[in-house]
């Protein structure tokens, strides 16, 4: 029985957002694409599941880079261009920050945000707006330069703010504004979505994060992130992409220094001109390349020279009262004992108690999220993989329940309601859950840590030198744009672009 064609233009390993974005873009250019996904549905962690008759979002908090219908940002525009028609719901606020002595709800829009910070910390409007405007200027440059690279003189002429802040951390740049600590604290909560504390986090990354989320707000699909993943997969299939689920790729086949196909766990050998891997470079270079000696030592040094970033730990509760009845007022709450991001980051190395928490109540952006009289409430922290690496299989259940209970208690205290009295369903997602469903290296969803040594500006400059096997590209959080569901799409498109560029170059 023959399940595959003799040959494809491109095989994409992984049918999550990055892999599907790559497949869409390649199919749009008429390429013959096969996507192999290990799970039985698309999306990776951008998915949902049903418990007790209630559909539950698995991972998505807020989708960035979508924009309104009239002003699409790059990811929203990509979906529109590809004919992926998603029913986007706007998230009402940026976030509610709950910090010692501060309870502030902030809304998107640079000026709105600055005004609301000013209301909480008077006299800061001009400076906060100046920070946000600087972020926006850098954001514009990053977006433009990712499409149209510029010469050095042009860079200075047109992208001065970007050029001049590129070598500095978020902390270093924010310090120059002379803002009071409380205002700085209100500018900090989103840091967790890029995963490193301000002393390490490149200002460039912070700028993109703030300009995108605060400038334009965020969105969620009406029928959970599964709507997004499924519509991408359906559209790709309609464009001729072959997607096969439950196919785990064991090996990437390399001949004469060039990727030429894959072997699946079931033993199928499938051939293609190009392979795009959503599996981490760590997995690929340490045990997926066949023959193993096709991996140069430089590739191993590259993965060893990088630090894995964050993973996720979520307690998802379906509660037997509505959000209003439980006093849940905000879609998104960040709660911390401190907004010293470096201290928070240090704490994420352990196994709790985690005191920097983000909570999402989907019902407040999507009233249909759960049946009437109930609501969903997810309590998430984004720990580093280090602590979880020490947990054994036999201790796993105890540890996950202990951490989950601490987080539920922490948010019960915040809400003044014992959440444990209202639990209809309780699902605990851990780094192991991520590893189980997606196969991601050490359950890491964030790729490599954004640090001054692993800076997007550096990643862009050294990308060519980090290309170790011809016709093998990577897509996913481990790539240039880093973590998050929006960046996943961008990373997938970049992989497809690399393939298309190589095709064009070699055709000449």
């Amino acid at each position: 029985m023959k399940f595959y064609k003799d040959h494809y233009d491109v095989i994409v390993i992984g049918g999550a957002l990055a892999g599907l974005s790559a497949a869409l873009m390649l199919a749009d250019k008429g390429k013959d694409v096969l996507v192999l996904e290990r799970h039985n549905l698309p999306g990776g962690i951008a998915t949902s599941f049903v418990r007790g008759g209630i559909e539950i979002e698995a991972a998505l908090h807020e989708m960035m880079s979508i924009g309104s219908k009239d002003h699409r940002l790059k990811v929203g525009k990509f979906f529109d261009d590809m004919g992926v028609d998603i029913d986007w719901l706007r998230v009402p606020e940026a976030y509610h920050a709950s910090l010692p002595g501060l309870e502030v709800t902030l809304h998107p829009g640079l000026e709105t945000f600055a005004r609301e910070v000013d209301a909480a910390v008077p006299g800061t409007y001009d400076k906060v707006l100046a920070v946000l405007n600087l972020c926006h200027t850098v954001f514009d440059s990053v977006n433009e330069l990712s499409i149209h690279p510029a010469s050095k003189p042009q860079m200075l002429l047109k992208h001065e703010a970007f050029v001049k802040t590129a070598g500095y951390s978020t902390q270093e740049v924010l310090d120059t504004f002379g803002l009071p600590q409380k205002a700085l604290d209100l500018l900090a909560p989103y840091w967790i979505y890029v995963g490193t504390g301000f002393r390490e986090l490149p200002f460039t990354i912070y700028s993109v994060l703030m300009a995108d989320y605060i400038g334009y707000g965020s969105y969620i699909p009406h029928k959970f992130s599964h709507e997004m993943s499924l519509k991408m997969a359906e559209r790709a299939e309609a464009m001729g992409v072959q997607i096969e689920y439950r196919q785990h790729v064991d090996k990437i086949l390399v001949r004469d220094g060039r990727a030429c196909g894959v072997r699946t766990a079931r033993g199928d050998e499938i051939y293609a001109d190009y392979v795009i891997s959503s599996a981490y470079p760590n997995s690929v270079y340490t045990h997926m390349i066949e023959p193993a000696d096709a991996v140069p030592a430089r590739a191993i040094k590259m993965v060893n020279g990088r630090r894995l970033s964050l993973t996720a730990f979520s307690v998802i509760l379906i509660l037997d009262k509505s959000a209003g009845e439980l006093g849940i007022k905000d879609y998104s709450v960040f709660r911390g004992d401190t907004m010293d991001t470096d201290a928070c980051y240090a704490e994420l190395k352990g196994l709790g108690p985690y005191r920097y928490i983000t909570c999402i109540c989907h019902n407040l952006a999507n009233p249909d999220a759960t049946p009437p009289g109930t609501c969903s409430y997810s309590i998430t922290t984004l720990p580093r993989v280090d602590g979880w690496k020490t947990v054994s299989a036999d201790d796993y259940d105890r540890v996950k329940h202990e951490v989950a209970r601490q987080m539920i208690d922490y948010m019960s205290e915040y809400l003044g309601v014992n959440l444990l009295d209202h639990v209809l369903e309780c699902v605990i997602e851990t780094p192991m859950t991520v590893a189980h469903y997606t196969g991601m290296w050490n359950g890491c969803i964030y790729g490599y840590a954004h640090t001054m040594e692993d800076h997007i500006v550096a990643r862009l400059q050294t990308a060519d030198a980090e290309h170790f096997i011809d016709h093998l590209e990577f897509s996913g959080a481990h790539q240039i744009s880093g973590d998050g569901m929006g960046p996943a799409v961008t990373n997938g498109r970049k992989a497809a672009k690399n393939v298309l560029d190589t095709m064009e170059r070699e055709a000449k």
Binding site: M1, F3, N40, V50, G53, K164, A166, G167, Y168, S169, E172, T176, K223, F224, H226, E227, L230, K231, E234, Q242, Y245, R246, Q247, R266, D268, T286, A297, I300, K301, M302, N304, G305, R306, T311, D320, K389, V391, S392, A393, D394, H401, A404, I408, L420, V423, E425, C426, I428, P431, M432, H436, N442, G443, E453, H455, V457, A458, Q461, T462, A465
Partner: protein, 395 residues
């Protein structure tokens, strides 16, 4: 890095690139393959395992317990008491899967030597040929493949009350047997009272094994519905009155038994003032007679349709009876499909309907909203009502 004067600094971009390359240059050239988080995930969820039967013993006049160990002698995966396992049975040309609640305890799957799991299967009354096959034919030394630790029917301390009343009917005792053993072992902590309904005392499954586990935390109350003059214990059905008698102020109810019992107990529990979150039913099981459900198109019930099955670029055409699920049609034709709960809930058999129409069992529609929009079904709970074309994963 100096902070002052950054607004004049234009060398940042090349500086970070140098730092990056230096970090790589100084890194070890030795491959690091450690993935301990992935290892834990694979220990809990290794997929289908090669198992061997090491013991078969009677569990009552009408039921048999089958013990499985791993063929490679290793420990079995951890699981939660109350979960089921899926066993593949090679029958002729077909490979048929069935979910069975695990009747042994989780700790027994993690023993250092001869770690095992057990299922307890009751001889059926004509409609479950696999149940009869297990009771009549399975013997020590037989080899099967099985997936351990599926389903959501287990005690969750962050959700459930300290006091649990289990309502069991017939062979529905099995998940509670697992919980009882784990409680007796001291590795699961809640108070469990099992109200166990049987027709006659001879039908009581695992009776002696469970009697031995009685403690402060564990009570088993047998309730006989049949006419048995010498019986000293509770009689009748699991009525609201009886349930109330054994309930604490805050009680979670777990229910596992035949489909008729579910219907009856929904009524009985409805008479008591119980919050929704305190009632947990095990999955419904495959519908016994799909034509009896609301909205079933009676005009097709005697028909057999053509089912076109797409796997990759390969297509097969097989017959599919209107009264049998797509999964059954596939298994009859010897086409492998992964199944789990066979109750429409778990989604293991998620399948795309490319054309044609199906009837979805209303008791068993655990689909995602977006899946419904795009014609995905859970094949174990979908019945053809026309010629149908489906796409399933290659197994």
């Amino acid at each position: 890095m100096k902070v002052k004067g950054f607004l004049k600094d234009v060398g940042g971009a090349s500086r970070v690139a140098k730092a990056r390359l230096a970090a790589f240059e100084n890194a070890s050239p030795m491959p690091v393959t450690d993935d301990p988080i992935g290892d834990v995930a694979r220990t809990w969820h290794p997929g289908k395992l090669d198992l061997v039967v090491t013991e078969v013993r009677p569990a009552s006049r009408t039921a048999t317990t089958v013990r499985f160990e791993r063929r490679d002698g290793k420990k079995l995966p951890p699981f939660y008491a109350g979960q089921f396992m899926v066993v593949d049975f090679p029958i002729g040309e077909s490979l048929i899967s069935r979910p069975y609640s695990i009747s042994s305890a989780p700790y027994q799957a993690r023993l250092d030597e001869h770690a095992f799991v057990e299922i307890t299967v009751r001889r059926s009354k004509g409609d479950g040929f696999i149940c009869d096959y297990i009771n009549d034919s399975v013997k020590a030394g037989d080899a099967f493949r099985g997936m351990i630790g599926c389903g959501q029917f287990f005690y969750e301390p962050l959700r459930d009350a300290r006091h649990v009343v289990a309502l069991a009917g017939g062979v529905g005792i099995t998940p509670f047997a697992s919980m009882a053993r784990e409680i007796a072992h001291g590795t699961l902590d809640f108070d469990l009272t099992i109200l166990y309904g049987s027709v006659s005392s001879g039908d009581i499954t695992l009776r002696d094994e469970l009697e031995r586990l009685h403690s402060d935390k564990l009570h088993i109350v047998h309730v006989l519905s049949g006419d048995e003059p010498d019986w000293q214990g509770e009689r009748g059905f699991l009525t609201a009155e009886l349930i109330k008698k054994y309930s604490a102020e805050d009680t979670t109810y777990f229910i596992c038994g035949p489909q008729v019992m579910y219907k009856f107990l929904r009524g009985e529990l409805g008479k008591l003032d119980i919050p929704r979150r305190r009632v947990r039913f095990e999955v419904f099981g495959q519908a016994k007679n799909i034509t009896a459900f609301e909205g079933y198109p009676q005009e097709v019930k005697d028909k057999t349709f053509e089912l076109t099955v797409v796997r990759g670029i390969h297509e097969d055409v097989i017959p599919a009876k209107a009264t049998e699920s797509l999964v059954v049609a596939l298994e009859r034709a010897g086409i492998r499909i992964e199944t789990g709960c066979r109750s429409g809930e778990c989604g293991f058999c998620r399948t795309k309907v490319l054309s044609g129409s199906v009837y979805i069992c209303p008791e068993s529609d655990g689909r995602r909203a977006a899946d419904k929009d795009f014609g995905y079904v859970h094949a174990c709970a979908a019945y053809p009502t026309s010629d149908v074309k489906i796409k399933i994963p290659i197994e």
